[in-house]
């Protein structure tokens, strides 16, 4: 369970969250809100990649010591090195994080033939797959996915849904939070759709 307490966040004069409190109690949450409401910003703050002006995030009632090991995130807001190939990016992540090479996920997304393509030469769908593979391979208890189905083909969406179905099987305290403008397929797979 993730709990947001007294969150205040603004970009210059643009206030995104003012004394915002929320409890995400379901194991699978789909946040649906209009553009510019701060969905991605919330995920970034939960992952510790963006700092709020004030506020606290509790994961299973605690502030985790090593957030990086607890949370995995996939979002367009994290720029991946565009001059490296997808394989080089994954290799770098696998080596620094000490995860096994994500063979199964790569073939599940039909991504093998694009491994040697530079990231900036990948289609938007394949860039999304690359982000998802990087997040999913970490097997972190908390998985945050920003618009995971955007630009993906139907087969890949189905594969993603099957992965998410099984993701929490060995993580009893884990949680998946996604943001999505077309939540229907995720709701069918047990996600609770909530607004901000």
């Amino acid at each position: 369970m993730i709990e947001v307490i007294g969150l205040n966040k603004q970009f210059s004069d643009n206030v995104i969250y003012r004394d915002y409190n929320k409890v995400f109690s379901s194991q699978k949450v789909c946040i649906d809100a209009p553009n510019g409401q701060g969905k991605t910003t919330l995920l970034m703050m939960l992952a510790g990649l963006e700092k709020p002006q004030s506020g606290t995030f509790l994961f299973a009632g605690k502030i985790p010591k090593e957030l990086g090991k607890q949370v995995a995130i996939a979002t367009d807001r994290i720029a991946l090195p565009e001059f490296l190939t997808a394989q080089q990016i994954m290799h770098l992540s696998v080596n620094t994080l000490g995860c096994p090479w994500p063979d199964a996920i790569i073939s599940g997304f039909n991504f093998s033939e694009f491994l040697n393509t530079r990231f900036d030469a990948l289609s938007s769908g394949n860039q999304k797959k690359c982000q998802l593979i990087l997040a999913l391979m970490r097997k972190a208890p908390y998985l945050l996915l920003d618009e995971p189905s955007a630009a993906l083909d139907q087969a890949s969406i189905q594969y993603l849904l099957s992965l998410l179905d099984a993701y929490l099987a060995d993580k009893p305290n884990g949680q998946i939070i996604i943001t999505c403008h077309e939540p229907a397929p995720f709701v069918e797979h047990g996600f609770e759709c909530i607004s901000l």
Binding site: G68, A72, P81, L92, R118
Partner: protein, 359 residues
């Protein structure tokens, strides 16, 4: 009917040319604005020697023309001038071609017009070629007969400008092959050297581009930075070219005034510090861009530190090369240069506004 059509075509061409001039001016203005930021840094370090540098450039052109004493030295100087010209034109390439709106241009004008105006703007931008033409116009007929290689040199200046716009890979290979030619200890005439350059650059057009990027295993920050520098070799090419120019100028000056070696050494060190520390502008930008990615990889601290290493390494390589080539090792100067470089790198990291110029 035909006249009316030609008139219409001419009007269209003029309108397109107007657009390209406007785009060129705007991009150049942006470039100069950014240059102003770097210029401030430059003036602080080397303000008093600017006039001397301009005179030095003309002195170099004189050495290219007057090759009677040492044709190899003259050829080296010519190649070096071509390298500097290519560096300058590469920086202006986007303004000359209006690269960002290239596809848009294709939708509103004929392809041949694009190339025609590219060449016009290229000639207008090539200050090195203009300087050579000015000198050439000042030569008498009898002098022309004595320096036929200078015509080939000017043709090379023009052709290499075109290569710079459309086939930069050939430019790289051409410089590599030509550098080998001018370093081989043989005695040939200046004209032969220049014809050799022309031939080597022409042959370079047929050398395929080798892409080794995907073959490098990137498993650490070291691999990441290597790949970055390999893919953005321009950030090193122009700095190394300018460092070479410092070495060439230093060699020329100590030949002329051996009694002023300590002063020239300090000046050379100032240039080395300036050019190597400015690499931090690029590395700092890379750090900002990929900071979050490395944070997700739990490498943020290591990534932060690693951004400073490229400029420090470049400084060390340049200083050691300088000491080895000229046999001038002054430990105090080296230590001060090192501290100065670290300070400059720190300033470059802090100054985000200046940083944008090097993008």
């Amino acid at each position: 009917m035909n006249i009316a059509f030609s008139k219409h075509l001419l009007t269209q061409y003029r309108v397109f040319m107007g657009y390209r001039y406007l785009a060129y001016q705007l991009e150049l203005k942006q470039l100069l604005l950014q240059l102003k930021s770097f210029g401030l840094l430059f003036l602080v370090v080397l303000g008093s020697s600017v006039l001397g540098l301009i005179l030095l450039l003309f002195l170099g052109l004189g050495k290219i023309i007057d090759s009677s004493a040492a044709s190899q030295y003259s050829a080296q100087m010519a190649l070096f001038y071509l390298l500097l010209q290519s560096v300058m034109l590469s920086a202006m390439k986007s303004a000359i071609k209006n690269s960002y709106q290239r596809l848009f241009q294709r939708t509103i004008a004929r392809s041949v017009w694009l190339y025609l105006i590219d060449i016009k703007l290229l000639t207008l931008s090539n200050a090195w070629l203009i300087a050579s033409v000015l000198i050439a116009l000042d030569l008498s007929l009898s002098q022309w007969v004595e320096v036929p290689h200078f015509i080939v040199f000017m043709l090379l200046q023009f052709s290499l400008g075109i290569l710079c716009l459309y086939k930069p890979s050939a430019l790289g290979y051409g410089f590599l092959f030509s550098a080998i030619l001018v370093c081989v200890p043989i005695h040939i005439q200046s004209l032969t050297y220049h014809m050799g350059f022309a031939l080597l650059f022409a042959l370079s057009l047929f050398v395929p581009v080798v892409n080794i990027n995907g073959r490098i295993a990137v498993s650490s920050l070291f691999g990441f930075w290597c790949c970055y520098l390999l893919n953005h070799s321009w950030v090193l090419v122009w700095r190394v070219s300018l460092l070479l120019s410092v070495f060439m100028a230093y060699a020329t000056l100590i030949n002329e005034r051996a009694d002023l070696v300590p002063i020239f050494a300090v000046l050379a060190m100032a240039f080395i510090v300036l050019f190597s520390s400015s690499l931090q502008f690029d590395c700092g930008r890379v750090y900002e861009q990929y900071r979050l990615f490395f944070k997700t990889c739990e490498q943020e601290r290591a990534f932060y530190i690693s951004q400073f290493l490229s400029s420090i390494l470049l400084f060390l390589v340049a200083t050691i090369s300088y000491s080895v080539i000229f046999g001038y090792t002054h430990i105090v100067l080296f230590v001060i240069g090192n501290m100065w470089c670290v300070l400059q790198v720190y300033l470059a990291q802090k100054n985000q506004r200046i940083m944008r110029w090097f993008g």
